[in-house]
Subunit: 417 residues, 2 copies
């Protein structure tokens, strides 16, 4: 055990791997931009690279019916299920080279490090590339880990279509990644995921590691505000039912809902457009989205009630009506105390500055947490930016994250089961 | 003179003409919708119909270099310039059968009435179809009356292109309406325009006629609000620079500017869109338009200063910056006291309920007012709606407007010059 605690990954090798594999889907003309849509050419190429790299390390490959790649390094105790180190190799259409990718390639680096040191863990170690985490080609996001955890049925997932009408089943067949393994058939003893924060907190607080204790709940809504289109020059202000003005009031209220529980509540209007969209016509309709997040169900309920109350009050205040349509929700997730403890202990021992935090974004770990002890490690990213060609981290940040991953997995392996 | 005062147009004949000519550009599947874009097939068809109808009444036709049709009925005094009765036969792409069209066809009805009664006016009467009033095919709107009045040069107007890159000059050539007459070469003794109100005031006050004393000034702006795109789930509210939130505050302020001088000031945000437009991303930019209107230059100046002050304050309040780009303005217009008096006098004599009012929209009369005594007559329209296939008026409303036009022109003819 004490020998394990001195073990470190090779930051240089990890960075080289991150850089080398960024060729698969690199966006020409950008410094680091990536387009690696699920099962499109670049994703298929990196999958083949990943399988070859794992095989070169002596690992065995299982591919499930959703194309998820599970690369296995055997342990010493045949009775134990594997510890998974998973994330995803797909990206947004204008994404970066770290979101998801870091978690998979750091898993590979962990195995390389264990091989070099000749360490045999008790549990098998599986490095996992979950299919279609981003949801950029097929909705919903995190579909393969969702089926693994029983959130979606296999048939539902396989029937999802991309914008060209190609189903996930057809894309898997075409790419040669429709594997034989039932997604839920291979249980996990635990799931560890290293990920960039995708937010500015660690950078703002100048901290090196985020020990992620859970994931916020998320609720998505569509809102339509309806008034009466009218001519900009001929309709007195007092006779207008201006949907843009009503929607602006609602936007101010939504922002206030996000600020109502500082450090916990978040609200975002991502889409907002006025119709018909003519310079000299007051809009008759505004369509907007609302994204509410909170770590507690009670908090989400309170925010939703406040939003519904604002919408109900809008007609009396503005003469415009609004409808609120819930379209998706994801309940809050609490990660496993033992996995969190392993990550926190490893971080402290490594001497990295850190804080406990929640993930604001969804990850495959949201779903694995339903069926296996799960935890996540965050590293800072530049300006908190992701889902953007400007996404960036430093080699030191990648190295620290992978060292926490290595040490936490080894600690968990030694103590669990 | 007293005989003239008993003269009335034929409401039935006018309505028949309005209905009959609505075939040129009728939108299939709508009750009254019209698409008669400048010099497109339907506009060319109605132009040929109009010329034939005028010739049948013994009128002579002059077509200027911008295709404006001036149909002339001679007067008794060869020293006098003609009194124009003008508006436009073109429509918005999804417009109605009264906006502009009523003013031209009521002019035709006035001539029919004079012919039947055997009345010879002192001034010649010209019924005028101004080319491209709507601005829907070629920008700017009211381009032919603008060149007539010296606001634009002929070359500028002819070089304007539609969305397919066809110039106005090419469209005129193609349609056979590139006439020989220089637009400003035929002066007018006066210009009378009957038009639907395009607003709800007359209907709301249950009044039959609007005596239009002028046209509001208009200023158009583009506004860009810039913040920082961020992930909806990972960026604390306190660290955001949310362009949508800043733009919503600005929208509230713009609405307040419109309400600052009740009965005078108007403000409208017609276009408003958030970018990049992703459900789980707080917008980094909002692009919006602002339309400010006021009957006085000083009022416009004050509104513009208030808008500029709000924009300047936005950065301190929200961390987002905004830029204000003026893109077009039209100064306030005061119509001619003698023309207004003729219209008001005729309205009173006819016993129609009425009020003095300003036009909120632009019209060809805005430009004719610069070079000829000008006035306008408004009739109510259903729900104040225009630029819409739902645009509607009643036969009685059309009749009353045309009777005021007839009587006002006769009075002006008798007293002026």
């Amino acid at each position: 055990m004490s020998a394990h605690r001195d073990l470190r990954i090779s930051g240089e090798r990890l960075w080289h791997t991150l850089t080398e594999t960024a060729q698969f889907g690199a966006i020409p003309g950008t410094a680091r931009g990536m387009c690696r849509l699920t099962l499109a050419e670049a994703d298929v190429a990196v999958r083949h690279w990943f399988i070859a790299a794992c095989k070169a390390l002596g690992m065995t490959i299982a591919i499930d019916q959703l194309g998820t790649i599970r690369a296995r390094r055997e342990g010493s105790d045949p009775a134990l299920a594997p510890i998974g180190i998973g994330s995803h190799l797909d990206t947004q259409p204008t994404g970066g080279r770290f979101d998801g990718i870091l978690g998979v390639l750091a898993g590979l680096e962990v195995v390389r490090t264990l091989n070099e040191a000749g360490i045999v863990t008790r549990h098998p170690i599986e490095v996992i590339d979950w299919t279609n985490e981003e949801g950029a080609r097929f909705a919903p996001a995190m579909v393969a880990s969702g089926v693994f955890a029983g959130e979606f049925t296999l048939d539902y997932a396989l029937a999802q279509k991309d914008r060209d009408g190609v189903t996930l089943a057809e894309a898997l067949d075409h790419a040669g990644f429709a594997g034989p393994v039932e997604p839920g058939a291979l249980p996990l003893a635990a799931h560890f995921e290293l990920h960039i924060e995708q937010g500015p907190v660690l950078e703002a607080e100048r901290l090196e590691i985020g020990v992620v204790e859970g994931v916020q709940g998320i609720r998505w809504y569509d809102v339509s505000v309806k008034g009466q289109t009218c001519h900009a020059g001929t309709t007195p202000m007092a006779l207008r039912r201006d949907a843009l003005h009503a929607a602006a009031r609602l936007a101010i209220a939504v922002d206030a809902i996000g600020r109502s529980d500082p450090g916990q509540s978040l609200s975002t209007i991502g889409l907002f457009q006025a119709f018909p969209g003519s310079r000299n016509t007051a809009p008759g309709e505004v369509r907007m989205t609302v994204d509410l997040r909170h770590p507690e169900v009670a908090g989400l309920d309170r925010m939703e009630a406040a939003l519904a109350a604002q919408i109900a009050a809008l007609e009396g205040e503005t003469g415009c009506t609004a409808t609120l349509s819930p379209i998706w929700s994801s309940p809050p997730v609490r990660f496993d105390p033992n996995v969190i403890a392993a990550i926190a202990g490893a971080t402290q021992r490594l001497g990295y500055t850190h804080r406990a935090m929640l993930s604001g974004a969804g990850h495959d770990s949201v779903y694995t947490a339903r069926v296996a002890p799960t935890g996540m490690i965050f590293v800072p990213c530049e300006n908190g930016i992701s889902h953007n060609v400007a996404e960036n981290i430093t080699p030191d940040e990648a190295t620290r994250g992978a060292n926490v991953l290595l040490q936490a997995v080894l600690d968990y392996d030694a103590s669990a089961g």
